[in-house]
Subunit: 328 residues, 2 copies
Protein backbone atom coordinates (compact mmCIF):
# COMPACT_ATOMS: atom_id res chain seq x y z
CA UNK A 1 0.00 0.00 0.00
CA UNK A 2 1.17 3.52 -0.77
CA UNK A 3 1.39 6.26 1.86
CA UNK A 4 -1.15 8.28 -0.16
CA UNK A 5 -3.66 5.43 0.17
CA UNK A 6 -3.00 4.93 3.87
CA UNK A 7 -3.37 8.58 4.91
CA UNK A 8 -1.79 10.51 7.75
CA UNK A 9 -4.20 9.42 10.49
CA UNK A 10 -3.56 5.74 9.78
CA UNK A 11 0.20 6.31 9.81
CA UNK A 12 0.10 8.31 13.05
CA UNK A 13 -1.98 5.58 14.69
CA UNK A 14 0.67 3.01 13.65
CA UNK A 15 3.43 5.11 15.19
CA UNK A 16 1.45 5.68 18.35
CA UNK A 17 0.96 1.93 18.83
CA UNK A 18 4.60 1.17 18.06
CA UNK A 19 5.86 3.58 20.69
CA UNK A 20 3.32 2.87 23.41
CA UNK A 21 5.91 1.63 25.92
CA UNK A 22 5.42 3.32 29.30
CA UNK A 23 8.16 5.45 30.85
CA UNK A 24 7.83 6.88 34.35
CA UNK A 25 9.06 10.29 33.18
CA UNK A 26 6.75 10.55 30.16
CA UNK A 27 3.43 12.02 31.32
CA UNK A 28 1.92 12.25 27.86
CA UNK A 29 3.62 10.75 24.78
CA UNK A 30 2.61 10.57 21.12
CA UNK A 31 -0.90 11.66 20.16
CA UNK A 32 -1.55 15.13 21.54
CA UNK A 33 -0.41 18.62 20.51
CA UNK A 34 2.82 18.25 22.45
CA UNK A 35 4.44 15.63 24.65
CA UNK A 36 4.67 16.20 28.39
CA UNK A 37 7.73 14.93 30.23
CA UNK A 38 8.87 15.11 33.82
CA UNK A 39 12.33 16.61 33.96
CA UNK A 40 14.72 14.97 36.40
CA UNK A 41 17.73 17.26 36.19
CA UNK A 42 18.35 20.96 35.94
CA UNK A 43 20.67 21.06 32.93
CA UNK A 44 19.15 19.85 29.70
CA UNK A 45 20.73 19.26 26.32
CA UNK A 46 18.82 19.84 23.09
CA UNK A 47 19.90 19.07 19.55
CA UNK A 48 18.43 18.35 16.13
CA UNK A 49 19.79 16.78 12.95
CA UNK A 50 18.33 16.22 9.51
CA UNK A 51 18.83 13.43 6.98
CA UNK A 52 17.89 14.32 3.40
CA UNK A 53 17.57 11.82 0.56
CA UNK A 54 20.26 12.33 -2.05
CA UNK A 55 22.35 14.35 0.40
CA UNK A 56 22.77 12.24 3.53
CA UNK A 57 21.65 8.90 2.16
CA UNK A 58 20.77 6.99 -0.96
CA UNK A 59 18.00 4.40 -0.83
CA UNK A 60 19.79 2.56 -3.66
CA UNK A 61 22.09 1.02 -1.05
CA UNK A 62 20.46 1.86 2.27
CA UNK A 63 17.51 -0.01 3.77
CA UNK A 64 14.78 2.07 5.45
CA UNK A 65 15.54 0.24 8.71
CA UNK A 66 19.18 1.37 8.57
CA UNK A 67 18.04 4.91 7.85
CA UNK A 68 15.81 5.01 10.93
CA UNK A 69 18.52 3.54 13.11
CA UNK A 70 21.13 5.99 11.86
CA UNK A 71 18.81 8.99 12.35
CA UNK A 72 18.72 8.20 16.06
CA UNK A 73 22.45 7.44 16.30
CA UNK A 74 23.54 10.75 14.76
CA UNK A 75 21.36 12.68 17.17
CA UNK A 76 22.43 10.59 20.16
CA UNK A 77 26.01 11.29 19.14
CA UNK A 78 25.45 15.04 19.55
CA UNK A 79 24.15 14.56 23.09
CA UNK A 80 27.04 12.23 23.91
CA UNK A 81 29.46 14.77 22.43
CA UNK A 82 28.42 17.26 25.13
CA UNK A 83 29.11 14.65 27.80
CA UNK A 84 25.38 14.05 28.24
CA UNK A 85 22.82 11.30 28.60
CA UNK A 86 20.05 11.16 25.95
CA UNK A 87 16.47 10.67 27.11
CA UNK A 88 13.66 11.89 24.79
CA UNK A 89 13.33 12.16 21.03
CA UNK A 90 10.87 13.68 18.52
CA UNK A 91 10.81 12.45 14.91
CA UNK A 92 9.90 14.25 11.67
CA UNK A 93 9.18 12.05 8.67
CA UNK A 94 8.47 13.38 5.17
CA UNK A 95 8.21 11.21 2.05
CA UNK A 96 6.51 11.15 -1.35
CA UNK A 97 2.91 9.95 -1.34
CA UNK A 98 3.79 7.09 -3.68
CA UNK A 99 6.31 5.63 -1.23
CA UNK A 100 5.17 2.36 0.31
CA UNK A 101 3.80 1.97 3.82
CA UNK A 102 6.33 -0.83 4.15
CA UNK A 103 9.16 1.71 3.79
CA UNK A 104 7.48 3.86 6.44
CA UNK A 105 7.11 0.90 8.80
CA UNK A 106 10.74 -0.12 8.38
CA UNK A 107 12.10 3.37 9.03
CA UNK A 108 10.20 3.35 12.32
CA UNK A 109 11.34 -0.24 13.04
CA UNK A 110 14.90 1.06 12.78
CA UNK A 111 14.05 4.03 14.99
CA UNK A 112 12.51 1.68 17.55
CA UNK A 113 15.56 -0.59 17.57
CA UNK A 114 17.85 2.39 18.10
CA UNK A 115 15.57 3.86 20.78
CA UNK A 116 15.87 0.57 22.69
CA UNK A 117 19.63 0.42 22.10
CA UNK A 118 20.16 3.87 23.62
CA UNK A 119 17.20 3.71 26.04
CA UNK A 120 15.46 6.86 24.83
CA UNK A 121 11.73 7.49 24.67
CA UNK A 122 10.13 8.43 21.34
CA UNK A 123 7.56 10.98 22.51
CA UNK A 124 6.30 12.73 19.39
CA UNK A 125 6.86 13.98 15.88
CA UNK A 126 5.27 15.00 12.64
CA UNK A 127 4.47 13.29 9.33
CA UNK A 128 4.17 15.02 5.98
CA UNK A 129 4.24 14.34 2.27
CA UNK A 130 7.23 15.77 0.38
CA UNK A 131 9.11 15.42 -2.89
CA UNK A 132 11.95 13.49 -1.29
CA UNK A 133 12.46 11.56 1.89
CA UNK A 134 13.50 14.03 4.60
CA UNK A 135 13.94 12.88 8.18
CA UNK A 136 14.89 14.78 11.26
CA UNK A 137 15.07 14.04 14.93
CA UNK A 138 15.26 16.34 17.92
CA UNK A 139 16.95 14.81 20.92
CA UNK A 140 16.70 15.91 24.52
CA UNK A 141 19.12 14.73 27.16
CA UNK A 142 20.59 15.53 30.53
CA UNK A 143 23.96 17.12 31.07
CA UNK A 144 26.15 16.24 34.02
CA UNK A 145 29.51 17.70 33.08
CA UNK A 146 29.09 20.03 30.09
CA UNK A 147 31.77 19.48 27.48
CA UNK A 148 31.73 22.19 24.86
CA UNK A 149 34.16 22.60 21.98
CA UNK A 150 35.66 25.61 23.70
CA UNK A 151 37.70 24.18 26.58
CA UNK A 152 40.91 22.89 24.94
CA UNK A 153 44.11 24.29 26.49
CA UNK A 154 47.64 24.50 25.20
CA UNK A 155 49.50 21.31 26.06
CA UNK A 156 46.36 19.12 26.13
CA UNK A 157 46.54 15.88 24.22
CA UNK A 158 44.08 15.36 21.37
CA UNK A 159 42.20 12.09 21.61
CA UNK A 160 39.88 10.13 19.37
CA UNK A 161 37.75 7.36 20.84
CA UNK A 162 38.31 4.80 18.08
CA UNK A 163 39.48 4.00 14.56
CA UNK A 164 38.74 6.62 11.91
CA UNK A 165 37.82 6.48 8.23
CA UNK A 166 35.70 3.35 8.51
CA UNK A 167 32.39 5.02 7.64
CA UNK A 168 33.94 6.69 4.56
CA UNK A 169 35.30 3.34 3.41
CA UNK A 170 31.97 1.65 4.15
CA UNK A 171 30.19 4.27 2.04
CA UNK A 172 32.62 3.66 -0.83
CA UNK A 173 32.02 -0.10 -0.60
CA UNK A 174 28.23 0.38 -0.62
CA UNK A 175 28.37 2.81 -3.55
CA UNK A 176 30.30 0.26 -5.59
CA UNK A 177 27.95 -2.57 -4.59
CA UNK A 178 25.01 -0.33 -5.53
CA UNK A 179 22.35 -2.31 -3.67
CA UNK A 180 21.23 -2.59 -0.03
CA UNK A 181 22.50 -5.29 2.31
CA UNK A 182 20.18 -6.12 5.19
CA UNK A 183 22.89 -6.39 7.83
CA UNK A 184 20.16 -5.85 10.44
CA UNK A 185 18.92 -9.34 9.50
CA UNK A 186 22.40 -10.87 9.36
CA UNK A 187 22.51 -10.78 5.54
CA UNK A 188 25.81 -10.58 3.68
CA UNK A 189 26.92 -9.65 0.18
CA UNK A 190 30.00 -10.29 -1.93
CA UNK A 191 32.36 -7.31 -1.98
CA UNK A 192 35.38 -9.32 -3.20
CA UNK A 193 36.79 -9.08 0.33
CA UNK A 194 36.60 -11.14 3.51
CA UNK A 195 33.25 -10.53 5.18
CA UNK A 196 34.96 -9.99 8.54
CA UNK A 197 36.78 -7.02 6.95
CA UNK A 198 33.71 -5.65 5.17
CA UNK A 199 31.25 -6.02 8.04
CA UNK A 200 32.61 -3.39 10.48
CA UNK A 201 33.15 -0.89 7.65
CA UNK A 202 29.69 -1.01 6.10
CA UNK A 203 28.12 -1.28 9.57
CA UNK A 204 29.78 1.96 10.58
CA UNK A 205 28.36 3.67 7.49
CA UNK A 206 24.90 2.09 7.51
CA UNK A 207 24.14 1.69 11.21
CA UNK A 208 26.76 3.60 13.22
CA UNK A 209 26.73 3.36 16.98
CA UNK A 210 27.28 6.61 18.83
CA UNK A 211 30.13 6.59 21.33
CA UNK A 212 29.19 6.90 25.00
CA UNK A 213 31.49 9.50 26.59
CA UNK A 214 31.21 8.16 30.14
CA UNK A 215 34.78 6.99 30.56
CA UNK A 216 36.28 10.10 28.92
CA UNK A 217 34.04 12.82 30.26
CA UNK A 218 35.61 13.34 33.65
CA UNK A 219 39.07 14.20 32.31
CA UNK A 220 38.14 15.88 29.02
CA UNK A 221 38.55 19.64 28.62
CA UNK A 222 36.70 19.91 25.26
CA UNK A 223 34.71 17.39 23.26
CA UNK A 224 32.78 16.94 20.02
CA UNK A 225 31.76 14.07 17.77
CA UNK A 226 33.42 13.46 14.43
CA UNK A 227 30.58 13.77 11.96
CA UNK A 228 32.10 15.73 9.07
CA UNK A 229 35.70 14.45 9.23
CA UNK A 230 38.63 14.64 11.66
CA UNK A 231 40.26 17.71 10.15
CA UNK A 232 37.20 19.90 9.69
CA UNK A 233 35.87 18.92 13.11
CA UNK A 234 39.24 19.43 14.84
CA UNK A 235 39.53 22.83 13.16
CA UNK A 236 36.13 23.74 14.66
CA UNK A 237 37.21 22.62 18.11
CA UNK A 238 40.41 24.65 17.79
CA UNK A 239 38.54 27.74 16.61
CA UNK A 240 36.07 27.55 19.51
CA UNK A 241 38.92 27.04 21.98
CA UNK A 242 41.13 29.71 20.38
CA UNK A 243 44.04 27.29 20.00
CA UNK A 244 46.08 25.49 17.34
CA UNK A 245 46.93 21.80 17.06
CA UNK A 246 49.60 19.44 15.79
CA UNK A 247 48.57 15.97 14.68
CA UNK A 248 50.98 13.04 14.62
CA UNK A 249 49.97 11.26 11.41
CA UNK A 250 51.46 7.97 12.55
CA UNK A 251 49.16 7.89 15.55
CA UNK A 252 45.87 8.27 13.68
CA UNK A 253 44.08 5.00 14.49
CA UNK A 254 43.44 3.05 11.30
CA UNK A 255 42.02 -0.44 11.60
CA UNK A 256 43.34 -3.50 9.78
CA UNK A 257 39.92 -3.83 8.14
CA UNK A 258 40.22 -0.31 6.71
CA UNK A 259 43.79 -0.95 5.50
CA UNK A 260 42.80 -4.12 3.68
CA UNK A 261 39.60 -2.71 2.16
CA UNK A 262 41.38 0.53 1.15
CA UNK A 263 44.10 -1.48 -0.60
CA UNK A 264 41.40 -3.37 -2.48
CA UNK A 265 39.66 -0.12 -3.43
CA UNK A 266 42.99 1.56 -4.29
CA UNK A 267 42.22 4.42 -1.89
CA UNK A 268 44.37 5.99 0.81
CA UNK A 269 43.31 4.87 4.30
CA UNK A 270 44.93 7.98 5.81
CA UNK A 271 42.91 10.28 3.54
CA UNK A 272 39.73 8.53 4.61
CA UNK A 273 40.72 8.75 8.27
CA UNK A 274 41.53 12.48 8.03
CA UNK A 275 38.75 13.68 5.74
CA UNK A 276 36.02 11.03 5.88
CA UNK A 277 32.90 11.89 7.85
CA UNK A 278 30.25 10.01 9.81
CA UNK A 279 32.48 7.87 12.01
CA UNK A 280 30.70 9.28 15.08
CA UNK A 281 33.77 8.72 17.19
CA UNK A 282 34.43 11.26 19.89
CA UNK A 283 37.15 13.84 19.48
CA UNK A 284 38.31 15.37 22.75
CA UNK A 285 41.16 17.01 24.51
CA UNK A 286 42.50 16.15 27.96
CA UNK A 287 45.71 16.56 29.94
CA UNK A 288 48.45 14.08 28.97
CA UNK A 289 48.45 10.69 30.68
CA UNK A 290 44.86 11.16 31.62
CA UNK A 291 44.47 7.41 31.26
CA UNK A 292 41.25 7.86 29.35
CA UNK A 293 41.55 4.74 27.19
CA UNK A 294 41.44 6.56 23.87
CA UNK A 295 43.94 7.23 21.08
CA UNK A 296 46.17 10.25 21.57
CA UNK A 297 46.74 11.62 18.06
CA UNK A 298 48.48 14.91 18.79
CA UNK A 299 48.68 17.93 20.96
CA UNK A 300 47.04 21.33 21.32
CA UNK A 301 49.45 24.20 20.67
CA UNK A 302 50.82 26.68 18.16
CA UNK A 303 48.63 28.27 15.51
CA UNK A 304 46.43 26.61 12.91
CA UNK A 305 46.33 22.92 12.12
CA UNK A 306 49.65 21.19 11.50
CA UNK A 307 50.81 17.60 11.09
CA UNK A 308 53.99 15.70 11.87
CA UNK A 309 54.81 12.87 9.48
CA UNK A 310 56.89 9.74 10.12
CA UNK A 311 60.09 11.61 9.24
CA UNK A 312 59.35 14.17 11.96
CA UNK A 313 58.62 16.92 9.43
CA UNK A 314 55.91 19.41 10.40
CA UNK A 315 53.61 20.80 7.71
CA UNK A 316 50.41 22.82 7.55
CA UNK A 317 47.16 20.95 6.98
CA UNK A 318 44.46 21.96 4.55
CA UNK A 319 41.09 21.39 6.22
CA UNK A 320 39.03 18.76 4.43
CA UNK A 321 35.64 17.44 5.35
CA UNK A 322 31.99 17.62 4.54
CA UNK A 323 30.20 20.93 4.32
CA UNK A 324 26.62 21.35 3.10
CA UNK A 325 26.04 23.62 0.09
CA UNK A 326 29.78 23.55 -0.73
CA UNK A 327 32.74 21.28 -1.31
CA UNK A 328 35.78 22.46 0.61
CA UNK B 1 24.85 34.88 -3.82
CA UNK B 2 23.62 31.29 -3.91
CA UNK B 3 23.63 29.01 -0.87
CA UNK B 4 26.02 26.69 -2.74
CA UNK B 5 28.51 29.55 -3.05
CA UNK B 6 28.14 30.63 0.57
CA UNK B 7 28.62 27.20 2.13
CA UNK B 8 27.28 25.74 5.36
CA UNK B 9 29.87 27.24 7.70
CA UNK B 10 29.16 30.76 6.47
CA UNK B 11 25.42 30.23 6.89
CA UNK B 12 25.79 28.76 10.38
CA UNK B 13 27.95 31.72 11.39
CA UNK B 14 25.24 34.10 10.16
CA UNK B 15 22.62 32.29 12.23
CA UNK B 16 24.85 32.24 15.27
CA UNK B 17 25.34 35.99 15.10
CA UNK B 18 21.66 36.65 14.50
CA UNK B 19 20.63 34.69 17.59
CA UNK B 20 23.37 35.81 19.97
CA UNK B 21 20.97 37.45 22.42
CA UNK B 22 21.73 36.31 25.98
CA UNK B 23 19.15 34.50 28.08
CA UNK B 24 19.75 33.65 31.72
CA UNK B 25 18.46 30.09 31.23
CA UNK B 26 20.53 29.34 28.10
CA UNK B 27 23.94 28.06 29.22
CA UNK B 28 25.17 27.27 25.72
CA UNK B 29 23.24 28.27 22.58
CA UNK B 30 23.95 27.85 18.88
CA UNK B 31 27.36 26.58 17.83
CA UNK B 32 28.14 23.38 19.70
CA UNK B 33 26.96 19.77 19.33
CA UNK B 34 23.89 20.48 21.45
CA UNK B 35 22.43 23.42 23.31
CA UNK B 36 22.50 23.47 27.11
CA UNK B 37 19.57 25.04 28.95
CA UNK B 38 18.71 25.45 32.60
CA UNK B 39 15.30 24.00 33.26
CA UNK B 40 13.10 26.03 35.57
CA UNK B 41 10.09 23.75 35.96
CA UNK B 42 9.49 20.06 36.35
CA UNK B 43 6.93 19.51 33.60
CA UNK B 44 8.20 20.19 30.11
CA UNK B 45 6.34 20.22 26.81
CA UNK B 46 8.00 19.12 23.58
CA UNK B 47 6.64 19.32 20.06
CA UNK B 48 7.84 19.48 16.47
CA UNK B 49 6.22 20.53 13.19
CA UNK B 50 7.39 20.52 9.59
CA UNK B 51 6.68 22.87 6.71
CA UNK B 52 7.34 21.41 3.25
CA UNK B 53 7.42 23.44 0.03
CA UNK B 54 4.54 22.52 -2.26
CA UNK B 55 2.66 20.93 0.64
CA UNK B 56 2.47 23.51 3.42
CA UNK B 57 3.47 26.58 1.46
CA UNK B 58 4.09 27.97 -1.99
CA UNK B 59 6.83 30.53 -2.50
CA UNK B 60 4.82 31.89 -5.43
CA UNK B 61 2.71 33.86 -2.94
CA UNK B 62 4.61 33.55 0.34
CA UNK B 63 7.65 35.61 1.29
CA UNK B 64 10.54 33.82 3.05
CA UNK B 65 10.01 36.14 6.02
CA UNK B 66 6.38 35.04 6.35
CA UNK B 67 7.48 31.41 6.14
CA UNK B 68 9.94 31.78 9.00
CA UNK B 69 7.41 33.61 11.12
CA UNK B 70 4.72 31.02 10.49
CA UNK B 71 7.09 28.12 11.27
CA UNK B 72 7.47 29.48 14.79
CA UNK B 73 3.78 30.30 15.19
CA UNK B 74 2.58 26.80 14.30
CA UNK B 75 4.96 25.26 16.81
CA UNK B 76 4.11 27.81 19.50
CA UNK B 77 0.46 26.98 18.88
CA UNK B 78 1.09 23.34 19.85
CA UNK B 79 2.66 24.37 23.15
CA UNK B 80 -0.19 26.83 23.82
CA UNK B 81 -2.68 24.09 22.96
CA UNK B 82 -1.43 22.05 25.94
CA UNK B 83 -1.91 25.06 28.19
CA UNK B 84 1.84 25.69 28.22
CA UNK B 85 4.39 28.45 27.95
CA UNK B 86 6.94 28.16 25.09
CA UNK B 87 10.60 28.80 25.88
CA UNK B 88 13.23 27.21 23.56
CA UNK B 89 13.26 26.33 19.88
CA UNK B 90 15.52 24.42 17.47
CA UNK B 91 15.28 25.05 13.70
CA UNK B 92 15.95 22.75 10.74
CA UNK B 93 16.43 24.44 7.37
CA UNK B 94 16.87 22.56 4.09
CA UNK B 95 16.87 24.20 0.64
CA UNK B 96 18.31 23.70 -2.85
CA UNK B 97 21.89 24.87 -3.32
CA UNK B 98 20.81 27.31 -6.01
CA UNK B 99 18.47 29.17 -3.64
CA UNK B 100 19.71 32.63 -2.74
CA UNK B 101 21.35 33.57 0.55
CA UNK B 102 18.82 36.39 0.63
CA UNK B 103 16.00 33.85 0.93
CA UNK B 104 17.90 32.14 3.74
CA UNK B 105 18.43 35.44 5.55
CA UNK B 106 14.77 36.40 5.25
CA UNK B 107 13.49 33.08 6.57
CA UNK B 108 15.64 33.62 9.65
CA UNK B 109 14.55 37.28 9.88
CA UNK B 110 10.99 35.97 10.10
CA UNK B 111 12.03 33.39 12.69
CA UNK B 112 13.73 36.11 14.72
CA UNK B 113 10.68 38.39 14.61
CA UNK B 114 8.47 35.53 15.80
CA UNK B 115 10.95 34.50 18.49
CA UNK B 116 10.77 38.06 19.86
CA UNK B 117 6.99 38.14 19.56
CA UNK B 118 6.61 34.98 21.65
CA UNK B 119 9.75 35.51 23.76
CA UNK B 120 11.42 32.18 22.95
CA UNK B 121 15.13 31.50 22.59
CA UNK B 122 16.45 30.03 19.33
CA UNK B 123 19.11 27.68 20.69
CA UNK B 124 20.14 25.45 17.81
CA UNK B 125 19.32 23.67 14.60
CA UNK B 126 20.66 22.11 11.45
CA UNK B 127 21.18 23.28 7.86
CA UNK B 128 21.24 21.03 4.81
CA UNK B 129 20.89 21.12 1.06
CA UNK B 130 17.78 19.43 -0.34
CA UNK B 131 15.63 19.25 -3.47
CA UNK B 132 12.90 21.45 -1.97
CA UNK B 133 12.62 23.86 0.91
CA UNK B 134 11.82 21.86 4.04
CA UNK B 135 11.65 23.58 7.41
CA UNK B 136 10.96 22.19 10.82
CA UNK B 137 11.06 23.51 14.33
CA UNK B 138 11.11 21.72 17.65
CA UNK B 139 9.64 23.72 20.49
CA UNK B 140 10.20 23.21 24.19
CA UNK B 141 7.99 24.80 26.80
CA UNK B 142 6.79 24.56 30.34
CA UNK B 143 3.49 23.11 31.41
CA UNK B 144 1.52 24.48 34.33
CA UNK B 145 -1.88 22.89 33.91
CA UNK B 146 -1.70 20.12 31.32
CA UNK B 147 -4.57 20.28 28.87
CA UNK B 148 -4.73 17.18 26.71
CA UNK B 149 -7.38 16.33 24.13
CA UNK B 150 -8.70 13.64 26.43
CA UNK B 151 -10.53 15.51 29.19
CA UNK B 152 -13.85 16.56 27.63
CA UNK B 153 -16.92 15.48 29.63
CA UNK B 154 -20.54 15.08 28.68
CA UNK B 155 -22.33 18.37 29.16
CA UNK B 156 -19.21 20.50 28.64
CA UNK B 157 -19.56 23.41 26.26
CA UNK B 158 -17.35 23.44 23.18
CA UNK B 159 -15.48 26.71 22.74
CA UNK B 160 -13.36 28.28 20.04
CA UNK B 161 -11.13 31.23 20.88
CA UNK B 162 -11.91 33.32 17.78
CA UNK B 163 -13.36 33.54 14.29
CA UNK B 164 -12.82 30.52 12.04
CA UNK B 165 -12.18 30.07 8.32
CA UNK B 166 -10.08 33.20 7.93
CA UNK B 167 -6.84 31.38 7.07
CA UNK B 168 -8.61 29.26 4.44
CA UNK B 169 -10.09 32.39 2.88
CA UNK B 170 -6.72 34.14 3.08
CA UNK B 171 -5.08 31.21 1.27
CA UNK B 172 -7.75 31.37 -1.45
CA UNK B 173 -7.16 35.11 -1.87
CA UNK B 174 -3.38 34.63 -2.12
CA UNK B 175 -3.73 31.76 -4.60
CA UNK B 176 -5.84 33.96 -6.86
CA UNK B 177 -3.44 36.88 -6.53
CA UNK B 178 -0.57 34.51 -7.31
CA UNK B 179 2.23 36.74 -6.01
CA UNK B 180 3.63 37.59 -2.58
CA UNK B 181 2.53 40.63 -0.60
CA UNK B 182 5.08 41.89 1.91
CA UNK B 183 2.57 42.61 4.67
CA UNK B 184 5.51 42.47 7.10
CA UNK B 185 6.64 45.77 5.52
CA UNK B 186 3.16 47.26 5.42
CA UNK B 187 2.75 46.56 1.69
CA UNK B 188 -0.69 46.10 0.15
CA UNK B 189 -2.08 44.62 -3.04
CA UNK B 190 -5.32 44.95 -4.98
CA UNK B 191 -7.65 42.00 -4.37
CA UNK B 192 -10.75 43.80 -5.65
CA UNK B 193 -11.92 44.17 -2.04
CA UNK B 194 -11.49 46.70 0.74
CA UNK B 195 -8.00 46.35 2.20
CA UNK B 196 -9.43 46.36 5.74
CA UNK B 197 -11.35 43.20 4.80
CA UNK B 198 -8.43 41.53 3.04
CA UNK B 199 -5.76 42.33 5.59
CA UNK B 200 -6.88 40.14 8.55
CA UNK B 201 -7.64 37.23 6.21
CA UNK B 202 -4.32 37.06 4.38
CA UNK B 203 -2.47 37.87 7.62
CA UNK B 204 -4.03 34.85 9.27
CA UNK B 205 -2.85 32.65 6.40
CA UNK B 206 0.59 34.19 5.89
CA UNK B 207 1.65 35.17 9.41
CA UNK B 208 -0.79 33.62 11.89
CA UNK B 209 -0.47 34.47 15.55
CA UNK B 210 -0.85 31.55 17.94
CA UNK B 211 -3.50 32.00 20.62
CA UNK B 212 -2.27 32.29 24.19
CA UNK B 213 -4.42 29.98 26.35
CA UNK B 214 -3.86 31.86 29.61
CA UNK B 215 -7.40 33.12 30.12
CA UNK B 216 -9.03 29.80 29.14
CA UNK B 217 -6.65 27.31 30.70
CA UNK B 218 -7.96 27.35 34.27
CA UNK B 219 -11.49 26.32 33.34
CA UNK B 220 -10.82 24.12 30.30
CA UNK B 221 -11.23 20.33 30.53
CA UNK B 222 -9.66 19.53 27.14
CA UNK B 223 -7.84 21.69 24.62
CA UNK B 224 -6.18 21.59 21.19
CA UNK B 225 -5.36 24.06 18.45
CA UNK B 226 -7.29 24.15 15.18
CA UNK B 227 -4.66 23.41 12.58
CA UNK B 228 -6.38 21.02 10.17
CA UNK B 229 -9.95 22.35 10.42
CA UNK B 230 -12.68 22.57 13.07
CA UNK B 231 -14.43 19.32 12.19
CA UNK B 232 -11.39 17.05 11.84
CA UNK B 233 -9.81 18.57 14.95
CA UNK B 234 -13.01 18.36 17.00
CA UNK B 235 -13.42 14.73 15.91
CA UNK B 236 -9.92 14.06 17.28
CA UNK B 237 -10.71 15.72 20.57
CA UNK B 238 -13.92 13.68 20.82
CA UNK B 239 -12.12 10.43 20.02
CA UNK B 240 -9.45 11.06 22.64
CA UNK B 241 -12.09 11.97 25.21
CA UNK B 242 -14.40 9.11 24.24
CA UNK B 243 -17.34 11.44 23.71
CA UNK B 244 -19.60 12.83 20.98
CA UNK B 245 -20.49 16.43 20.18
CA UNK B 246 -23.27 18.56 18.78
CA UNK B 247 -22.36 21.82 17.05
CA UNK B 248 -24.78 24.70 16.70
CA UNK B 249 -24.06 25.94 13.18
CA UNK B 250 -25.48 29.39 13.92
CA UNK B 251 -22.92 29.92 16.67
CA UNK B 252 -19.79 29.24 14.62
CA UNK B 253 -17.96 32.59 14.75
CA UNK B 254 -17.59 34.00 11.26
CA UNK B 255 -16.17 37.48 10.87
CA UNK B 256 -17.62 40.20 8.68
CA UNK B 257 -14.36 40.25 6.75
CA UNK B 258 -14.75 36.56 5.94
CA UNK B 259 -18.41 37.01 4.91
CA UNK B 260 -17.60 39.85 2.54
CA UNK B 261 -14.53 38.18 1.02
CA UNK B 262 -16.34 34.85 0.68
CA UNK B 263 -19.22 36.57 -1.14
CA UNK B 264 -16.68 38.13 -3.51
CA UNK B 265 -14.99 34.74 -4.06
CA UNK B 266 -18.38 32.97 -4.36
CA UNK B 267 -17.41 30.53 -1.60
CA UNK B 268 -19.33 29.44 1.48
CA UNK B 269 -18.00 31.08 4.64
CA UNK B 270 -19.48 28.27 6.76
CA UNK B 271 -17.63 25.62 4.72
CA UNK B 272 -14.37 27.49 5.24
CA UNK B 273 -15.08 27.86 8.96
CA UNK B 274 -15.88 24.15 9.38
CA UNK B 275 -13.28 22.57 7.10
CA UNK B 276 -10.55 25.18 6.61
CA UNK B 277 -7.28 24.63 8.41
CA UNK B 278 -4.51 26.78 9.84
CA UNK B 279 -6.58 29.26 11.84
CA UNK B 280 -4.54 28.33 14.95
CA UNK B 281 -7.45 29.27 17.16
CA UNK B 282 -7.86 27.20 20.30
CA UNK B 283 -10.61 24.60 20.52
CA UNK B 284 -11.49 23.63 24.07
CA UNK B 285 -14.19 22.29 26.30
CA UNK B 286 -15.24 23.72 29.65
CA UNK B 287 -18.28 23.64 31.92
CA UNK B 288 -21.10 25.93 30.78
CA UNK B 289 -20.99 29.56 31.91
CA UNK B 290 -17.32 29.23 32.65
CA UNK B 291 -17.00 32.87 31.66
CA UNK B 292 -13.95 32.10 29.58
CA UNK B 293 -14.42 34.84 27.00
CA UNK B 294 -14.59 32.53 24.02
CA UNK B 295 -17.30 31.44 21.57
CA UNK B 296 -19.45 28.53 22.72
CA UNK B 297 -20.28 26.62 19.53
CA UNK B 298 -21.93 23.51 20.91
CA UNK B 299 -21.95 20.88 23.56
CA UNK B 300 -20.27 17.57 24.32
CA UNK B 301 -22.71 14.65 24.33
CA UNK B 302 -24.24 11.78 22.36
CA UNK B 303 -22.29 9.80 19.80
CA UNK B 304 -20.31 11.02 16.83
CA UNK B 305 -20.31 14.53 15.44
CA UNK B 306 -23.65 16.16 14.82
CA UNK B 307 -24.86 19.65 13.94
CA UNK B 308 -28.00 21.67 14.66
CA UNK B 309 -29.01 24.09 11.92
CA UNK B 310 -31.03 27.29 12.21
CA UNK B 311 -34.29 25.32 11.90
CA UNK B 312 -33.31 23.22 14.92
CA UNK B 313 -32.78 20.12 12.79
CA UNK B 314 -29.99 17.79 13.96
CA UNK B 315 -27.90 15.97 11.34
CA UNK B 316 -24.71 13.95 11.24
CA UNK B 317 -21.54 15.68 10.13
CA UNK B 318 -19.02 14.27 7.67
CA UNK B 319 -15.54 15.07 8.96
CA UNK B 320 -13.64 17.36 6.63
CA UNK B 321 -10.19 18.80 7.05
CA UNK B 322 -6.62 18.45 5.99
CA UNK B 323 -4.83 15.12 6.18
CA UNK B 324 -1.36 14.50 4.76
CA UNK B 325 -1.00 11.76 2.15
CA UNK B 326 -4.78 11.75 1.59
CA UNK B 327 -7.73 13.98 0.84
CA UNK B 328 -10.64 13.17 3.11
Amino acid sequence: MKLAEAGELFLLEKIRRKFNRKFSDVVCGIGDDAAVVRVLRKNMLLTTDMMVEGVHFDLKWTTPFQLGFKLISVNISDIYAMGGRPRFVLINFAAPGDAGTDMFKRVFDGIERAARTYDVAVIGGDVSSAGNVVLSASMVGYASVILTRGGARNGDCIYVSGALGEAACGLELMKRLGKPVEIEKGRRADFGLEWRDVSPLISRHLMPLATNPEKFARRATAMMDISDGLLIDLSRLCRESGVGAVIDLQRIPISGELRRAAAHLKLSPLDMAMGGGEDYRLLFTAPEDAGVGAYCIGRIGGRGLRAVNEAGRVHKLAVKGYQHFASV
